[in-house]
């Protein structure tokens, strides 16, 4: 797999997050290069999601800053990152194909590749309204969004939740493929998510 992105590095230093007046974490730092994965662990409410959302520009940075090298300079980090949160960003009344098509056009400016749905095993349900999908299938459709638009940074918040064993292995494969393509992953999870050589960043009281 030829490296899609040149030598890339994402660093955060002295990061402080305050939400609703409560300091979630302070002075946090990390550094992850292209081809590497960072596993953010910690008990619930320790701020794993907040860190990911902060990288994605969805939460205000109370202190510290991010630095990214080796990527398109004009684009901000959120414009080069995929964020897979607890919410699936799907409209029940739109069909599977319409949902994916919209995100591909909105985030990537073009129609999604035909293979995206097939890779996540939803090709047969393309014309089915998303309302009929199960939680696991909605999750797969969200993951298809990551394949439909090429972005170097993947921010995955408990990506394996609602996925069955077979889908978790498939996701691990996709993540390895993304890393070997030179991309990087920052994932928040409780346990290992099939990524052997992931660096770990503990967040929370005993950080």
């Amino acid at each position: 797999m030829p490296a899609r992105w040149a030598e890339m590095r994402l660093e955060g230093s002295g990061l402080t997050c305050v939400r609703g007046g409560r300091e979630v974490f302070a002075g946090l730092g990390f550094s992850v290069a292209g081809g590497e994965a960072l596993l953010v662990t910690g008990r619930n409410g320790a701020g794993k999601s907040s860190l990911l959302r902060m990288i994605a520009g969805l939460v205000r940075i109370a202190g510290g800053q991010f630095a990214v090298t080796g990527v398109d300079a004009e684009k901000t980090i959120p414009e080069q990152a995929h964020y897979l949160g607890h919410l699936d960003a799907l409209k029940p009344s739109l069909t599977v194909a319409e949902n994916l098509g919209f995100w591909a056009r909105y985030l990537g400016g073009g129609a999604p590749p035909q293979t995206a749905l097939a890779t996540v095993g939803l090709a047969a349900l393309a014309d089915l309204p998303a309302a009929y999908l199960s939680a696991g299938q909605r999750r797969r459709l969200s993951i298809a969004r990551l394949l439909a638009v090429q972005r170097p940074i993947w921010l995955l918040d408990e990506p394996t939740s609602a996925l069955d064993r077979e889908a978790q292995d498939a996701l691990a494969g996709l993540m390895r493929q993304h890393l070997s393509g030179g991309g990087l992953i920052v994932a928040a999870a409780h346990g290992p998510i099939g990524l052997e050589r992931a660096k770990e960043l503990r967040v929370g009281a005993d950080a």
Binding site: P92, G121, L125, S134, G136, R140, D164, E166, A167
Partner: protein, 246 residues
């Protein structure tokens, strides 16, 4: 959602398919007779030929009420006996009832224009029909917003029954609010006060309209059953695909 057994509606479908063409033919025949009779009806001494509008206005008003009565009966079927066919009957009747109520309003204002000089007058009967029309739109909106058919049916059934209870109250209060319209001349205690030569075409047209309503309702119910079957198949298609377990 447990896969409700569609056996009963299936039998309904097998019954509906043959009867539909016959019913449609009968409706057309009665309509033909009705139209000939209305054409021959004499002019009213006061309103002249505009009385011919009554041959559409009055039957469609009746159908507006008939539709809501039908939906109320179906609502009982839904709430008391939980019969899936009752849900289908209620949902199919709403748009048709609304259409005839709308027709009653339009013909009413067309009849009123030469008589009262304006298209719309806030008189008691027309206003009650207008409120009935709004209630129809409300029920249809309710049907469209709730996704699951059986939940939607129960919600619509409750709204229909509450509406049925309130219709007389609305009618009485609007009458009190304004009495401009001609008092109910057809259904009078002393029998119809209008001349038999006008009453006969009116009765035939009323029969024709009712048959039309039933034909349309039967066809709409058939569509509704097919729509539910499509929904069930789509659910099964999702469950058959990978990842449906979790």
């Amino acid at each position: 959602m447990a896969l409700i057994d569609l056996a009963n509606p299936t039998r309904f479908l097998s019954l509906a398919r043959p009867t539909l063409p016959w019913l449609a033919g009968l409706t057309a025949a009665v309509f033909a007779v009705g139209l000939v009779l209305t054409h021959g009806a004499p002019d009213d001494y006061q309103q002249g030929a505009t009385v011919k509008i009554m041959f559409i206005h009055v039957p469609s008003a009746w159908l507006g009420m008939f539709g809501w009565t039908l939906m109320s009966a179906a609502a009982l079927g839904t709430l008391v006996w939980r019969h899936p066919l009752a849900d289908v009957a209620a949902k199919a009747a709403a748009p048709i009832g609304a259409a005839f109520t709308f027709l009653c309003l339009v013909t009413g204002s067309l009849w009123g224009r030469p008589m009262w000089g304006t298209y719309w007058v806030w008189d008691a009967r027309l206003t009650s029909v207008l409120l009935l029309f709004l209630m129809y739109l409300g029920v249809i909106a309710l049907w469209r917003t709730v996704e699951d058919p059986s939940r939607a049916a129960r919600a619509a059934a409750i709204l229909t029954l509450v509406g049925a209870i309130n219709l007389p109250i609305i009618k009485w209060s609007v009458d009190w609010w304004n009495t401009l319209h001609q008092p109910a001349s057809v259904v009078k205690l002393g029998g119809p006060a209008i001349h038999p030569t006008i009453l006969l075409p009116l009765m035939v047209m009323a029969l024709a309209f009712t048959l039309l309503f039933l034909t349309l309702h039967l066809a709409a119910m058939r569509n509704e059953i097919l729509r539910r079957r499509v929904r069930t198949l789509m659910l099964m298609q999702a469950q058959a695909a990978p990842g449906s377990g979790s």
